[in-house]
């Protein structure tokens, strides 16, 4: 059954690249682009055609990343999440990834549905949703930095930091 962790690792990386790649796309490209597009009246193209597709792959790649990560941990799942001895590094990474997944589904996506008009909302609610979604997306971007540090560490981090 050694194929399961090997395939889980591969899938974890593929989906994780898509998830974090889209997170960085939102923060580095789409948010500043929407600001500029709003000024010349071209934002509708982004909000109607690009953002919904990007959010679809974003939220589902987050789920696949987490599930593949859980499969990869296998019998070490509890040791990682309880930060047992020898599992602090991957455990902290796993917790950060889990918090990020929570933020995607519980905060970002419901607020984006209001912003994009997929869910009824007043202008005031849309403005509040924009602020909440922006700050949560930025929080996830900040969390991705230590998350990748701990997750992608492996032997080099063990040698350098003892984690």
């Amino acid at each position: 059954m050694e194929y399961v962790p090997a395939l889980a690792r591969w899938l974890h990386f593929l989906a994780g690249i898509m998830w974090v790649g889209l997170l960085y796309y939102f923060n580095f490209v789409q948010i500043p682009a929407l600001k500029a597009a709003g000024a010349d009246g071209t934002a509708a193209g982004i909000t109607r055609h690009i953002a919904p597709r990007a959010l679809l792959y974003f939220r589902w790649s987050a789920v696949v990343t987490w599930l593949a990560g859980a499969a990869l941990l296998g019998g070490q799942f509890v040791s990682a999440f309880t930060l047992s001895k020898g599992y602090a590094g991957i455990g902290i990474g796993a917790w950060l990834g889990t918090i990020m997944l929570f933020n995607v589904w519980v905060i970002i996506w419901p607020n984006q549905q209001k912003i994009l008009g997929l869910k009824p909302a007043t202008d005031e609610e849309k403005n509040a949703a924009r602020r909440t979604a922006l700050l949560t997306s930025r929080a996830n971007m900040a969390l991705s930095i230590p998350m990748l540090f701990f997750m992608a560490g492996g032997l080099t981090h063990r040698a350098a930091f003892g984690l």
Binding site: N27, F28, L83, K85, A88, G89, I92, L134, L135, R138, A139, M141, A142, L143, S144, I145, P146, F149, F150, F161, G162, L163
Partner: protein, 31 residues
Amino acid sequence: MKNPLDSIWGTIISGLVLTVVLVVAAKTLLA
């Protein structure tokens, strides 16, 4: 005080600071 998450650089610096804090915490409390 301005929210550091309002800017890209503030977000990146926050992430780097959090990384250092977590590494120190992990080494101190969990090693």
